[in-house]
Symmetry: C2
Subunit: 215 residues, 2 copies
Amino acid sequence: MREHPRSKIKRVAQRGHYDQVTIHAILDEGWVAHVSFADGSGQPFVIPMAYVREDNAIYLHGSIASRLLNRLGEGIETCLCVTLIDGLVLARSHFHHSMNYRSVVAFGKAVAITDPGEKAAIFARFVEALIPGRSGESRAADRNEINATSLLRLNIEEASAKIRSGGPKDDPADKDLPFWCGVVPLRISIGEAIPADDVSPGRQLPDSVLRLQMR
Amino acid sequence: MREHPRSKIKRVAQRGHYDQVTIHAILDEGWVAHVSFADGSGQPFVIPMAYVREDNAIYLHGSIASRLLNRLGEGIETCLCVTLIDGLVLARSHFHHSMNYRSVVAFGKAVAITDPGEKAAIFARFVEALIPGRSGESRAADRNEINATSLLRLNIEEASAKIRSGGPKDDPADKDLPFWCGVVPLRISIGEAIPADDVSPGRQLPDSVLRLQMR
């Protein structure tokens, strides 16, 4: 992937990564992208959106009535960030407390996808990105739903990943302070599924949910 | 909190909330803010940052060498978003799949805090925001560390929260489809603490970590 001033990691440069394998793996693990853009006066906006990565592109979707989607679909400069939090880093000093994380910042411009078949296929991918296997356990989008939903593809023009992992980096002078230090890992865990009120009581949990719970 | 075109929720307006209690509760539960701004040409940027809320302000910090912090500290228009993901919403149709979440979008302009005592107190709050009780289990910032770290306060000028909760909203026509539907809750769980390599083997886990693990 091309490096560029927009995406070049400056602070703690050894945490920066620019290869697609690293970048795509982080994008594929996240559930929400924080998507930012500016209006004509330089006022920035950032909002959380579900997304799907396919090849070197990010898909975003929403109501055709969404002014935000329409604005992004005009092809304005867009920046998005996906962040995975992996742990809390406890050091012997306040200063060296930190978090372990993996994040991607990507730049590009969106184009609207209008072909109904392509839209339906990508909408199924949105379901799969949240819950693998689920698209076959629910009804695909019909023509009305396809028409009611905008789909944007943002080709990634530049991107960088930033990763912190491992333990605290204490100052040598602090080594003998009487404090525990180390890492407290964090991860997203799956709770017990809650059926909707109108699900018949005998209906079993679907395979997709059972697989999620076994992760 | 004042409503304004920047922060007014337009899509699914009943999910919008503008009261400080709701907004502050979401900000206090998050660990990372996605902070966005634009350069002079309208190019947007968004990056993940640790933060602390205090009253109706958000504090951000980083190296004094950070060009980003320096740029934000010039008082340019800034927008940030904190998102908590609460669950996956599985519907009978692809179209009604969704996520349960709580998010805040806040707007303001940052000012640099330069008083060393105020900086040290807020740096301790950063530690507390990650791990309650931890600031007393580690060394406070010394003069060099205080001088090496920029601290910005962003007074929240406008903000809105958006919350989705509860089960899927299926179309009545889909009620008899033979699919399970409901919610799969998600939460961040705390893993087993990993001591740093140079922690003496006999040193017990600190109270702060024990409390985190009992959450």
